[in-house]
């Protein structure tokens, strides 16, 4: 609630949800990210496109703190998080999904989401069973409804289809009070019908939640984002509205050059 109240003020001030200035990340001799500068306004939804190995996932890893940046600064809602450990960034409201699902495969669907909700709330060591009517369980179930998994709530995750696992990834990112989410190729491997579901789920997210979505499929990306950043060789080389990007010759060059996953 309080977040929504401060939102208009931040918009007025031209505040950014996420602000990267000159961020780099090296793996030995390889510059996976070089000098990336990126500004995303509060509530904005951005698509990041780029060929395989362009550095998109590395960008996410550096923002979440899974890897530390080797140079540059990162600000999250104005706060400098460059040196903050990953779990503290999570507590600030930053969430992500993984390109390859990282789920608790032998637990049930609802227990996966429950753990995600519990991770950012108190009493994590409680020896009591979660109350089905308690606030945390209730939140878990409302998330399951949002990602359309409520009818498989008590199923073991190992038994889910690929598409359901991708939805669960998204559900876990919605736990707690997310302010900004990084979606790493959520549509990868989905059927056309499942892609439609995904687009609907993303467009139904509360307006104050901004996100970056990595997506190879322009069709999906352009329907869920209002602005596009193109990456290549660890750098952002073009930004613009979807129409500009779609008709850009350089972009077509890279995309038609066989970089599709």
């Amino acid at each position: 609630m309080s977040e929504r109240a401060v939102l208009p003020k931040m918009l007025e001030a031209g505040a950014f949800a996420l602000e990267l200035s000159g961020v780099s990340r090296r793996f030995g001799a390889l510059a996976a990210l070089s000098n990336v500068t990126l500004r995303i306004a509060v509530g904005e939804r951005r698509a990041v496109l780029g060929s395989n190995g362009a550095g998109k996932t590395t960008l996410f890893n550096v923002v979440t703190g899974d890897f530390m940046a080797t140079a540059g600064r990162i600000r999250f809602f104005g706060e400098d998080i460059t040196a903050l450990p990953a779990h503290e960034r999570t507590r600030l409201g930053l969430r992500r999904t993984y390109q390859i699902s990282l789920l608790f495969s032998r637990l049930t669907v609802v227990d996966n989401v429950y753990l995600a909700c519990r991770g950012v709330s108190r009493r994590r060591l409680s020896l009591l069973r979660p109350r089905p009517s308690g606030p945390v369980m209730e939140q878990a179930f409302s998330i399951l409804q949002a990602v359309r998994l409520d009818d498989v709530a008590n199923v073991e995750v190992a038994l889910l289809s690929h598409g359901q696992k991708r939805q669960l990834e998204i559900g876990m990112a919605l736990a707690g009070a997310p302010r900004f989410i990084l979606f790493d190729e959520p549509a990868a491997g989905l059927s056309p019908a499942e892609r439609e579901d995904l687009v609907a789920v993303l467009n139904a997210l509360p307006r104050h939640i901004g996100y970056i979505i990595i997506e190879h499929d322009l069709d999906v990306a352009l329907r869920v984002a209002s602005f596009v950043s193109m990456m290549h060789n660890g750098a952002v080389f073009k930004e613009g509205a979807p129409e500009e990007i779609e008709s850009d010759p350089e972009v077509q060059q890279i995309y038609l050059g066989g970089a599709h996953a």
Partner: protein, 341 residues
């Protein structure tokens, strides 16, 4: 697994998850009635001992089955409790033996065991898989040699003898029937505790660490804290068993906690099954029966061969010990419990 098999399981799983059904009631009644038919020998040497060793194996199973951390040091943890009882309470060896009342020594013994277990958990928390096994094996070996070579505290090689079980409520609790019920009570309480806690918030976090430690960290959990607490709780179960074991034997020495005996605990847990807390008790019963009667069957010196063979056969034909076999032949049990992991 095919789509269809998956759907069948889904249907079966999402209906009721009754954990304590008619099976438990019948089984519990049988255990309560056991003294009516069993001789003193079968009451203590088979019944009591299986329940005690089953608890130590349960302590291992909770860490391994729910946490993915295989510990070979849980017998050493139980041994700590036994030594505390021998040292602070009464013994006939003439070394140490402060004659403190059992109401003081027993809680201290259990606490010491749990704290030791937590310490071992902290030491091994950054390892996984085979490295956890190696580290805990090294710790078990170190505890054994330390106890054997330290005369001031542990009375070295000979250890302590003449450790009595307490007498209260007008009962000598080492007499066969009371001792059996004491073991049954402790085992049932541990078993029920594990059954409850596995679905508690904390229990779910432990299983989450087993399935995906990196994701747990990303969700905001302190993985090390949760691991150490899991080892602490598991140490309580091993500690209670350690107290009962020292009352059972009336003595304790380094040979009670040597590496071969520690491996036996792992054998029990694996033979029984690691996916449900009843497994360790089933495994303990099988091993105790083999230990007791193997000498009649194959001669005392071939006893380990027989255990080894049993182990190999069961691991070969089942994916989860005797419980795994049971699930294949009694599918209804499966639906109630597999999802708990």
């Amino acid at each position: 697994m095919s789509e269809f098999a998956g759907k069948d399981r889904i249907a079966a799983r999402s209906v009721g998850r009754s954990e304590v059904g008619a099976g438990h009631a019948l089984f519990g009644l049988a255990l309560l009635a056991y003294p009516a038919v069993a001789s003193d020998f079968f009451l203590t040497q088979i019944g009591g001992l299986s329940l005690i060793e089953g608890m130590i194996a349960l302590s291992l199973m909770t860490l391994a089955g729910y946490g993915g951390m295989v510990s070979l040091a849980q017998l050493s943890v139980a041994g700590i409790a036994g030594y505390v009882v021998a040292i602070l309470g009464h013994n006939d060896t003439g070394v140490q033996g402060y004659d403190w009342p059992w109401a003081v020594t027993v809680p201290l013994a259990i606490l010491a065991a749990a704290a030791t277990s937590a310490l071992i958990g902290w030491i091994s928390a950054r390892t996984s898989g085979i490295y956890t096994i190696m580290i805990t094996l090294a710790i078990a070996t170190a505890v054994f040699y330390f106890a054997q070579q330290n005369y001031v505290i542990f009375n070295g090689h000979s250890g302590f003898a003449g450790i009595p079980a307490p007498v209260f409520f007008g009962e000598d609790w080492r007499a066969p029937v009371p001792f059996y019920y004491l073991c049954l009570f402790a085992a049932a309480a541990s078993y029920a505790g594990v059954l409850y806690v596995r679905r508690s918030t904390f229990g779910l976090t432990v299983q989450g660490m087993r399935d995906n430690e990196r994701r747990m960290r990303a969700l905001g959990f302190s993985v090390i804290l949760h691991k150490v607490f899991a080892w602490f709780l598991s140490g309580i179960v091993a500690g209670i068993a350690g107290v009962l074991l020292v009352w059972f034997h009336g003595r304790i020495s380094p040979s009670s906690i040597d590496v071969a005996a520690s491996l036996n605990i792992l054998v029990m847990a694996v033979i029984g099954g690691l996916r449900h807390p009843i497994g360790p008790f089933v495994g303990a019963l099988v091993v105790v029966l083999l230990q007791t009667f193997a000498s009649d069957l194959v001669g005392a010196e071939r006893f380990n061969t027989l255990i080894g063979l049993t182990f190999l056969i069961i691991v070969y034909i089942s994916d989860d010990g005797i419980l795994g076999l049971w699930r294949q032949f009694a599918p209804r049990f499966d639906h109630a419990d597999r999802s708990a992991g």
